[in-house]
Amino acid sequence: MFMKNIFAVLLIFAISSAVLGQTKISGRITGEDKQPLPGANIYIKDSYDGVSSEVDGNFSFTTDEQGEAVLIVSFVGYLTYSQNITLDSKPKHLDIVLKEDAKELGTIVISAGSFEASDENKAVILRPLDVLTTGSDGDIYSTLETLPGTQQIGETEGLFVRGGSASETKTLIDEMTVQNPFYSSVPDIPSRGRFSPMLFKGTIFSTGGYSAKYGQALSSVLVLKTQDLPPKTQSAINIMPLGLGGSHTQLWENSSVSFEGGYYNLGPYFKVQPQRTDWDKAPESFEGSANFRYKTSQTGMLKAFTSFSTGSLSLYFPNLDSLPQKDFYHQKSNNFFVNTNYRNILWDDWTLFAGYSVGIDNIDNKINTDLANRDDIFHTGKLTVTKNILSNAFLTFGGEVQNLDHTSSFNALKGNFNETYLAGYLEADVFFTNDFAGRIGVRTENSKLLDKTNFAPRLSFAYRLGAYDQLNFAYGKFYQTPDPDFLLYSKNFEFENADHYILNYQYIGTDRTFRIEAYYKNYANLAKGTVFTYPYFDLPAIPFGSSGKGYAKGIDVFWRDQATFAHTDYWISYSYLDTKRDYKNYPTLASPPFSTPHTFSVVAKRWVQSITTLFGLTYTFATGRPYFNPNNPKFLGDRGKNYQNLSLNASHLLSVFGNFTVLFISIDNVLGFENLYGYNYSTDGTIRAPILPTALRTYFFGLFISLGETNPY
């Protein structure tokens, strides 16, 4: 009897605890903006009991656990939430708000005035592949000329950004300035960039307002980052109408060595493709480079790159003062370049960068019987340290030194200067909230030659409006020492100065990007003076000094779309520019010849899988640019023709004897627009010769064979 009772009591106890032991938990999961979060994981700690939230954020589950417990809610991109909960069989209703995890979502990128092409950053507008597949000649600078902010200047090399001359843009490789990134200059004939786009994994093209880490560029900087370790050992052969090249890359576990060499001769090409230029000996050059990379640790990388090139050419220019005579022009040039740097992350949150680079250029020009030579030796060293301070900010500081030994000679006359430039910089990147970030910095520079020091504040702010769009603002002071041509004559100059004010709105969606940017640049202390070069015109001779000034203002618009048309990627850029300056030998304020009010570009690419070919098209239109006419009392009052160019290219992927190969074909100026850049005048102004592109149409093809494994697997 007693036993039965106890058993019954135990049984009732057991049953009731089974039934009464369940607690129902339900509710809704949202973010701070009240939007529901579907697929969040809601569960009791140390138990299997739990559920995922539905599309509307609601959830509901029952648990057998009892007593004091911890409820946890986790969702990717948000901080995990936990709270104590008493499981006493009474239903619980909980509306839970999760907080965003800033580190997961990705920090906002400060980007006023810059285009970045890389894989590292999510919010980029360009990819490294874009640089290779845009433009008809595989030159980085050609690709950049399809972005807003750049001007189309067909008769000379360089990037002309927002009313600035080519010398106002500096090219940097791995944080260090490259003195001569282009092949040697020939009058009215543009030269190519020296460095193959294949060397670089990332590009930051800043059209203004750039970081305090960089200086000596009144308008913009192009920062190129070299590749780290290559993916595998391979060899490659390049065959082009202008010559042959080959390379070999050897990869070990933590290091790699690459060698590259090429011989280029445009002679045969010019025989098939007649040029307007009167060549005597077409450009011929021989070049080689070596590249060494060593991954010192998980976070450390040591790089060393060296290249050399030697070339010569000769041609005839019509002598407008004594037609039909021609001037004979011969150029021989040598270039040697070294860039070595080391990067590492130490003690968890100190990032160290140290680099040294040297560039040596010798250019010997012979014009009839006159000799005009130029020799440059340029050393630069840089040290940058970055440290995290607080959870939402990091500090960057460092210094750089540049030394330029420049010698210029004309027959027996010889000029030389040696300049040492020192700079220090300090910059803080602060993420005030998840949606608002700022970069505040200062750069100070000293020129030994000018015996002057400056302070250049730089500010940049980014404000995130929504998931995809952002408002950016930048302000900065930028200084630059005057051109070497001026420094040979006088040291009585100030640093040239430009103040930038930039405001932009950008939308970077999954497949579409839109950007509109307005800017105002105020130039002051621009170098003025008359440097006597042939031909002489009746312009007043101006003494050397820093009284030049000017302004540039405008709006740049960019739209990129990779989704609307199947397998098609296109972008459209438009620039409006209004600029005037009084510098060098200008008698008054005038719009310079490297500026024009309207520039428009369309770049489109389409991949056709069935024939594994990428087709590309680039169309550019620009209004006419000012040119100097000695007969016009208004200085730079004449305008050239409107410029138009349609170029087509195709890259076909195939296999040659089992090796991965790319066949590249391009035609520049397909429609044969008769473009005219301006005129050269005789000294008395009565005769003029048009400055035209070197050929009406340019045909180019290349075969790039990659030897070794073809399979990406």
Partner: protein, 214 residues
Amino acid sequence: MKFIISLFLILLLSDSVFSQDKYESGMKINLAKMDECKNSNDYLKVSNSFERIAIAEKDKWLPYYYSALNCVLASYIDSSKTTKDIYLNKADKYINAADSLAPENSEIYTLKGMIAQARMQIDPMNRWQKYGTEATNNFTKAIQADTLNPRPEYLIGVGLFYTPQQFGGGPTAAKPVLEKSLMKYNQPAPENDLMPHWGKEQVEYYLKQIDGEK
């Protein structure tokens, strides 16, 4: 008294036996649910269920493995590129947790290769260099860790099947790899039916496609 004591003992014992059953039945229930998933939300729910088991058990790699696998399956179905990458980020987290519990594991290397492959498929033109290499390295390690695992060769074969011929791919290149995989699937199955055994149907499907094209 004896009866009450033995009742207590039975209750105590059944608790520990029950927890082992609890893990096995929890895993089996969710493995069955995987076959019923119709859209990416379903796969994510199953992934979350496996995550709960993983967190509760603390020292078992298999539930983390299945959490990651379901995220990859969700990424295949979903159409938006950004969402695919988000699911694969989740998969990375889970497979790394599995890896820390069971290093040098063939199935874990296989799944890491699968994730790299899925990332590559999102943007092949821009990503094949980085993720193609990562996928190959992981599949190679998977085969080295367990030569009888059929899944690495299945994934390599499918990858080759979809790779253009100019890159060394195509059905002819895929066939021998898939046949090798099928041979390994036909070996006697391991006893533990919680371990991964997926993929055989897909290999047979692709081999049929290849033979059909001839």
